[in-house]
Each structure stands twice: as C-alpha cells, then as structure tokens.
Symmetry: C2
DNA sequence: CATAACGTCGTAAACGTTTACGGACTAGTC
DNA sequence: GACTAGTCCGTAAACGTTTACGACGTTATG
C-alpha cells in the first residue's frame, strides 16, 4: 500500500518521476534525461515521455531538483516595504517587474519578489540573510541602493551574483544600472534658469539614497554654471510622498524672497506641492513653475496643470536588469555599470502662458 | 580533498549540517534535533549547537529541508502585472504586503510575491501551474478575484490551501476576505441623494472583477430606494487608472442633462475625473460632486479639492489574510468568508461650500 | 570475424536535510 | 541484582531529482 504523501496538498493522481517512469515502462533516469533535453535519449522515447508528462501534468518538483542541481532557477528581488500607511507605493515598480519577469521566464528563470521590512527586526539584514543562507535564489536584484549600503557589503561577502538599481559606495564591483539623476537635476535647473527663474527650490529625500546626492549635485552644478548662489534654505528634505512634498512646499514657499520655481526629485511629491500652492492662492505654472522628477506615473499627465517631469521606460529598465543578471550568471560579462539618461517630458506645470 | 561545491555562490567557510556536526563532535541527527526544537536533546548540547550555528552562520538549506519535510514554509502571492505602461500601480498593495509579511514571519513563514502576466503566454495559468506543480509554496494568497476565475477552479482542483481577496462564483468553498463594495456603492450614492443630487454617474472597471458587480449593485439599490431611475448612460466602464477616469468623465459629462455627482470605484480614477472637470471649466464640489472609491491612497488628501473616498486599513487587511491562511494551514478552521466594511472619509470633493 | 564506435538505456550515487528507530547509558524501583 | 523507565544520542532511511558510469545491442570499420 502506498504511504500517504507528506505533502499536504499533494495532487490526487499525478506525482513523481517514478510514477511517470513506471507508467512508460522505462527508468527514471531516462525520463529525467528526456525532459531535460539531454543527448542520450531516443527521439521516439523523448516524444513519448513528453507526451505522458504533459498528460499527467508532471513537472519536476523544485526542492528535489534544486537540491541536486544546486540551483533554484529563481531570481529574487528584495523589496523594501516602508512601515505604516504613510508610504507612497511607487507605481514605478509594477512595470519594472513586468519587464524583468518577461525576460527571465524566457530563459527558464522566475522572478520572486521578497518583501522586506528592515526596521521590523533587530537585524536589518535578517531577511536578506535568510534568503542567501537558505539558498532560496540563484541571484538577486536590489532596487535603490543607499550611499552606505550594508546589503551590498553582505552580498559582496557571500559572492552571490546580483545587480543593483543605483550606485553605492559599499560593496565590491558589481553590475548596476542607475538613472542619471545628476544630469536630470542639472537639466531641469538649467531649464528653469533659461526661462528666467533665479530663485529655484528643490525637494529631495531625507533618506540616504544615492539618488539624492546626484540630484542635488546636478542642481548645484546648474546654479554654478549660471553664476547663481546655492542657498541652503531652498533645499527641503522629506519623504518621497505627496505628504512629503506638501511639507517641503510649505517650508520652501515661506522663504523670502519666495522661490519662483520648484524642482522635486519625484513626481509623487508634486501632488503635495500642487496642494500647497493652491492653499496659498498661487497658480502653478503662473506664479511658481514646477518640475516633478522621476518618475512619470500614469497620474502625472492628468494633474492640473499636467506635470512636467522626467520619464523613463520602466519596462525596458526591468528587462535590462534581467539581461544583465542573466549575462552575469552565464559569467560572460564582467561587472559593468550603465548610466541611463532620463528625458524630460514637457507639459504644463513649468510653463507661463 | 573536498570537491568544489556545485552551488555557484557557495559561501567560503560555513556550509552544511555535516561540517557543523563534525566541528562539535556530534552526529548530524543531534544537530538537526537541536536546531528544530525537538525534545530528545540535552539542553547543554542544544546550547552548544545553537551557539556554533550562529557563529558559523549556519542555516538549513531550503531545498534539502523542504524536500524532506514536504513543506517550503513559503507563502506565495500571485500578483497580476498588467502589460504595458498604462497600468496604475496600486499603492494599496505595498502596505498590504507589509502586514502580511509581518504576521507570516512571526510564524516562521515568508511571503514571496510571484508576478504573473497572464496575457504573456498561451496558457494564462502557466505561472500558477508552475508554482503549484513545482511545489514552490505551501499556500497561496490570491488578490482580486474575478466573477469567473479559472485560477480558483484550478486551486480547488489541486487542493492547495489558499485565501482569496474577493469573492467569486468559481472554485469550491474557500476562505476569503472581501471589501463590501456593495455597501460602499450604496452608501455613497445615498449620500449624494441626501445632498440633493438626482443625476448621479458612476465609473467602474471594464474588467470582470467581482468588485464591479457589487459596487454597481449598491449603486442601483440606493437609486431604487430613493425612487430614482437607473440610466445606462450614467454608467461608464473603463480602466481603473487616471486615464480610465478621464475617459469615463469625458463620456459622462456629455450626457444631457449633465450629472451633478460622480462616483468612481477607485480613487485613481478620480484624478482623471478632476482633470476633465477642469477642462470643462466645472468646479469639482461646486458644479459636480465627486466621491472616489476604494482606496484611500497617500495622494487623495492632497488633491485639490481633497478627495472624499473610502478608506481601509490595508495593513490590517494584509495581516488578517495571513492569519486566515495560517489558521487554514493548521486546519483548525473551516473555510469562511469575511466581509469588511469600508468607511467613507469625508473630505472636500463632494461638498458644496 | 574481431573490434571499435555509437546510440540508448538502466543503475546507483549524490544533493542536504529530517526523523523513526534502536542502542547505550543512568537512575529509580522492587 | 534484576528489571523498568527515562535521557540522550547515533544510525540510516527517506524525500525527488539529476547525472556519472557502465551495460547492452546494433552498426560500421578494419
């Protein structure tokens, strides 16, 4: 009598390579070879095996397979979930995930997103450690690096392949893609200056994200190039959320003389800026020009006035991240970085008309 | 000589329960028992094992463990990623994920989010099948069910424990949580009516989501209760995005006589509605009252005017989903459903003042 | 005809872990 | 002292798969 399966939700009929082999009257070795495209198997037999497998719905079980092969064919993406309700849920990521999964699955890999709450446990690296030590994935994608990023140090130490979204000072050499926030900050600021603005405020994250440094650097560079002074009072740090944008605008618009232009690092902050402008009876575009930053969410063009902000093909970004990682896994590639330009979408919020 | 590990990114020093046992001069069985809180082990030995494990950074490898135990201690969440850039990236989910992960990890489980693109492959269930057949998870969370949902039928067939967000006509009995869209639709409509509105438009998804049916049913119920006629022309179907809201508003505001109130199923549509109102020179609140639906994103209170919409403790929702699933895994619970009320947050968009 | 080469397949070991079973002690009981 | 009970631990068999190796039969080669 067959022992009941340990697996609680075992399917009724199909299960195991053994059953499949028995049903076909061949050995499990042959079945495995047939399904894995190994050479030493009769084309005729292979056909029969594949047919039977699809009929019985047999798919090799992950744990057995990866135990033996030492690879899971899963690519992890460590996703930091901010605590509480305050967070803005980056629509950005959805399409990025789509692009990544698309490329990965074409190569037999799967994307699994592992939510992480660094603040929830004593050890901020707890989840990452578990993922690595339990060998849950073959490689990792790490979105939004920080200036000093212990995650990168840890990953470098254990030597697992990964690709980072964003540069960092931490960790060893590794492949990355970063958006050129410096160029973006410079471009937007220069555009303001060219339009005649002299007092330009900027809103950036309070966090230690790398983006912040670069964005601010670009801003300063443009100021300097135009011979304008850098004023601390025109820089506001806050959450990258509508609430953060509101708080920043509240502070910045109180500065005397009042800034005539505002630059936010992310379009989510622009919503809060819009509100503060309305409260003060200021017209967005007319009295104060606004440029929202990365990213161009599905919402920005429907704001009133439509938000001028930076755009980016997030699907392509997701795809490229996957490609870089796959190349790294094939070890055909040396760790290189890619700096992606982000282009401005001109809409209404920075126009006086 | 030790053979090189098959695992590409094997850590330098630590590896395997064998090394740990050898180092302590005891058998691997004892080590395993010590780490798994099994009874038959000397407290003194247990301490030594735990100390050594944490020193060497030993954590049991997932594949070996789950192969033997027939359980992965992973809970999957199948996340449908819409194709293309058009989609609105539900900020809603971020906090939900946080709540779920929090509860699960307290019980030794982990949440893994598996992005799925049903349209990308010939078989829309491809990814779900792979997850189940490869035994990648012990249980599943399925957000946003449809009226007819093949995923539910499949899950019922294979008998894996799961909890759904949303009801459905498909599948067998299973635990679920749903938001009471019917009550929400009815409440908002009745509120409009009480404020004197007689021509009330509604924007719902074109999709076959269950939410749509219930929301519309509530809307109709309130109309009926007030003796108002139901007009097809006042119902617009579209994408649950700002663009969808814009398109819906464009159609609805052309109806003669023009509606004086608009109800959207989701606050993301409200952004598009706002824009269309502005384009027509109509004042939101004054000329046309607007109530956005579920969910109250971080943005809604910063819109101008602040959006009256339904709110929901998404963190609690995520937590409860996890709890229900855990109860189901302990098989202490029979499949029951929970209907969560969603309360209206009164702000400015539906006020005439 | 002897041998080599080839194509196809079965056998069995391995991957890392958990756990049923039994053995070796010690302590307690009559 | 013989027995039982209890404590702790080692042994070894599983879990499902992949793959190195060798065996077998057939065909080509000399």
């Amino acid at each position: 009598m067959k022992k009941p399966s340990l697996i609680p939700h075992a399917q009724a009929g199909a299960s195991g390579i053994r059953d499949l082999a028995a049903r076909l009257g061949i050995s499990i070795g042959t079945v495995s070879r047939a399904l894995n495209d190994k050479p030493d198997v009769n084309p005729e037999t292979r056909k029969r095996v594949i047919a039977a497998a699809s009929e019985l719905g047999y798919v090799p079980q992950q744990s057995g397979r990866s135990l033996r092969k030492g690879a899971t064919h899963n690519i992890g993406l460590l996703w930091e979930i901010p605590e509480g309700r305050a967070a803005y849920g980056e629509p950005f990521f959805l399409s990025l995930f789509g692009g990544t999964q698309q490329v990965l699955s074409a190569r037999g890999y799967d994307l699994v997103i592992m939510p992480d709450q660094p603040g929830a446990t004593a050890d901020p690296l707890a989840r990452l450690r578990r993922i690595i030590q339990q060998r849950q994935v073959d490689a990792l994608i790490l979105p939004w690096t920080r200036t000093m990023d212990p995650r990168l140090d840890y990953l470098a130490e254990v030597g697992i392949p990964f690709v980072a979204l964003g540069r960092s000072r931490s960790g060893g050499p590794h492949p990355w893609i970063d958006l050129d926030f410096e160029q973006a900050g410079e471009f937007a600021t220069a555009r303001f200056i060219a339009a005649g603005h002299r007092r330009i405020a900027i809103a950036i994250p309070a966090d230690s994200l790398m983006q912040k440094r670069f964005f601010l650097a670009g801003y300063r560079r443009a100021l300097k190039a135009a011979g304008l002074p850098f004023e601390r009072a025109l820089v506001a740090e806050g959450h990258v959320t509508p609430a953060g944008g509101y708080a920043a605008a509240t502070r910045l618009l109180d500065v005397i003389p009042r800034p005539t232009a505002m630059l936010a690092i992310d379009s989510s902050m622009a919503v809060g800026i819009y509100r503060r402008l309305a409260e003060l009876g200021l017209s967005c575009g007319q009295d104060v020009a606004v440029i929202g930053g990365v990213h161009d969410t599905p919402m920005t063009e429907f704001l009133v006035p439509a938000l001028t902000c930076f755009s980016l093909d997030t699907v392509a970004l997701g795809r490229r991240l996957a490609e870089i990682l796959l190349a790294r896994l094939d070890s055909k590639a040396n760790p290189a970085g890619e700096l992606w330009p982000i282009v401005l979408v001109e809409r209404q919020s920075d126009r006086i008309d």
